[in-house]
């Protein structure tokens, strides 16, 4: 077989690839490189001191733990929602299905002020929790609420199509072999969904780590308690400490790139697993 290069029938390859590369470089690659180049103006000792400052380390912990917890909550309820949308008929299903994407469409600042109004101690939910001694707004719990809100569609929209496409034959076979409903779900359906569940978890987690808009309003931003890492970058910039902001940004970028790599591998795994178990392909 001749290579595509020899028999390129369609025109426009050079033009479109060239334009893509130039535009990509101008908008994305060169500005990203600026972060790493700026960071090299710091000595390693200064860099290390900035990124291991106790306040910064505490912000990593807050960001990481709340993102992890939010992604875990989303896996549980995202799975239940995906299951309900695929497996059950109920009134209002289409509306629920459409509104799952609300966190993608609603600007994060709007989510932020709304959630803090709801969970403040005089808010609809906050006033119910206050007598129980639970404070949500302006504590790390508030960050958790905001990150749960923005992460939900990632989990539902990763699991839902896989569940939709999953062949019924597996559960039928399990039932024929004597499995009850719980066993068939636990030992047949759940393993088939596992790649999608893990991918959804990682997508929600990755989004949560970088999130800013929905969090700043509800977090209270108390140093060492409820400050997230992106906020510290802004604080450094406001203090004209551009080098400090850049050093923290480098740490965030490295984490993002690692997560992107993990997500790419997971999605590859999920799609190969998914196509193996699809309707009509079950052997």
């Amino acid at each position: 077989m001749a290579t595509a290069k020899t028999f390129r029938v369609l025109p426009g390859f050079g033009l479109t690839l060239g334009y893509t590369l130039v535009y990509l470089s101008l908008i994305v690659l060169i500005p990203l490189a600026a972060v790493f180049i700026k960071a090299t103006s710091l000595s390693f000792a200064d860099f290390w001191q900035t990124v291991t400052d106790p306040q910064v380390v505490s912000s990593y912990r807050v960001t990481f733990l709340t993102s992890l917890a939010a992604a875990a909550i989303n896996v549980i309820f995202g799975l239940l929602l995906a299951w309900s949308l695929v497996r059950y008929e109920f009134w209002g299903k289409r509306v629920v299905d459409a509104l799952i994407d609300l966190p993608f469409a609603l600007p994060t600042a709007v989510a932020g002020i709304t959630l803090s109004a709801l969970y403040a101690k005089n808010g609809w939910i906050g006033s119910l929790l206050a007598p129980l001694g639970i404070k949500v707004a302006f504590t790390p719990l508030g960050i958790l609420v905001a990150l749960t809100f923005i992460g939900l569609p990632f989990v539902v929209r990763t699991i839902q199509p896989v569940l939709q496409e999953l062949s019924l034959e597996f559960e039928e076979a399990a039932t024929t072999l004597g499995a009850n409903r719980w066993q068939a779900s636990r030992y047949v359906v759940l393993p088939a969904l596992l790649p999608a569940i893990i991918t959804g978890f990682t997508l929600a987690f990755a989004r949560a780590v970088g999130e800013y808009g929905s969090v700043v309003f509800i977090a209270g931003n108390i140093p060492m308690v409820s400050e997230i890492t992106p906020l510290l970058i802004i604080t450094r910039l406001e203090q004209f400490d551009v080098a400090g902001a850049t050093a923290i940004a480098v740490v965030m970028l490295v984490v993002s790139f690692i997560l992107l790599l993990v997500i790419n591998v997971l999605q590859h795994w999920a799609s190969s697993q998914g196509s193996r178990l699809k309707e009509g392909k079950a052997a």
Binding site: V9, L10, G12, F13, T16, L17, Y19, T20, Y23, L24, I27, P31, L32, A34, V35, K38, F77, L81, W83, V86, R87, Y88, E89, V96, L99, D101, L102, P103, F104, A105, P107, A109, V110, T114, A117, L118, I125, L152, F154, R157, P161, Q164, L168, E171, E172, T175, R181, V209, G210, Y212, G213, P230, I234, L237, V242, L253, S256, F257, L260, N264
Partner: protein, 287 residues
Amino acid sequence: MSAADTIKVYHSAERYEKNPATREPRWVKYTILSMALGFFGLFLLLPLFAVFTEALRKGFSVYVAAITHPDTLSAIRLTLLASFIALPLNIVFGVAAAWCISKFNFRGKQLLITLIDLPFSVSPVVAGLMYVLVFGIHGWFGSWLADHGIKVIFAVPSIILATTFVTFPFVARELIPLMEAQGTDAEEAAISLGATGWQTFWHVTLPNIKWGLLYGAILCNARAMGEFGAVSVVSGHLRGQTTTLPLHVEILYNEYQFAAAFAVASLLALLALVTLALKLYAERHLS
């Protein structure tokens, strides 16, 4: 999340509820449903209602006053301007990128796709910082720009740049899987029948991808108008000059003008609802 992944083919759930192998006892169904819908109500529905309730809390006249205030109007203008520039730029890019990636084979294609997705992985705050490092006073072009009296950071150009960055992948990542699935047969036929490249694109490719293009453009627009973090870093928050709608919401909120903040926020919430409706409409045509 591309449309190709999320297209919902509406088989009714009846095939599960009627099949003895997948039928579940009623109590199981209602327990799972109530947990799922309870969570949905608490985390999605309630905030949506709260935006509008808070916006109208002080009455309709306060609401109207807030959204017709000159600062709000100028924020609306800037938001529209940023989106009207970022959107066409990213549409042209998305079509060009999808054309070379889906219709041709070349080395490094997978890497290119990953690089196109990169802006989704970068925290919006870091995105804003990048442009400060390039165009800010102490940045690469800072002194040159200052000498020539051009303001980029804390001015409109950087808001447009930051908006373009955060919405960069939307159109491309919708079109790439769609055009890859469609292959090259139709285009090759057109070319061999004597059509020019431009005619082929306009009359053969575009009609096939228009719903995917619309889908990507809708998501791109929603994000462009709603972006907060990246724009916040580069805007300088000059009231009535460099504040977009989400930044204006923040300013009002921080000044304890809650009803006004929620009134402006309700405009963005309406935009979100329109976005979801249009997205549903595009999805129907895609499947």
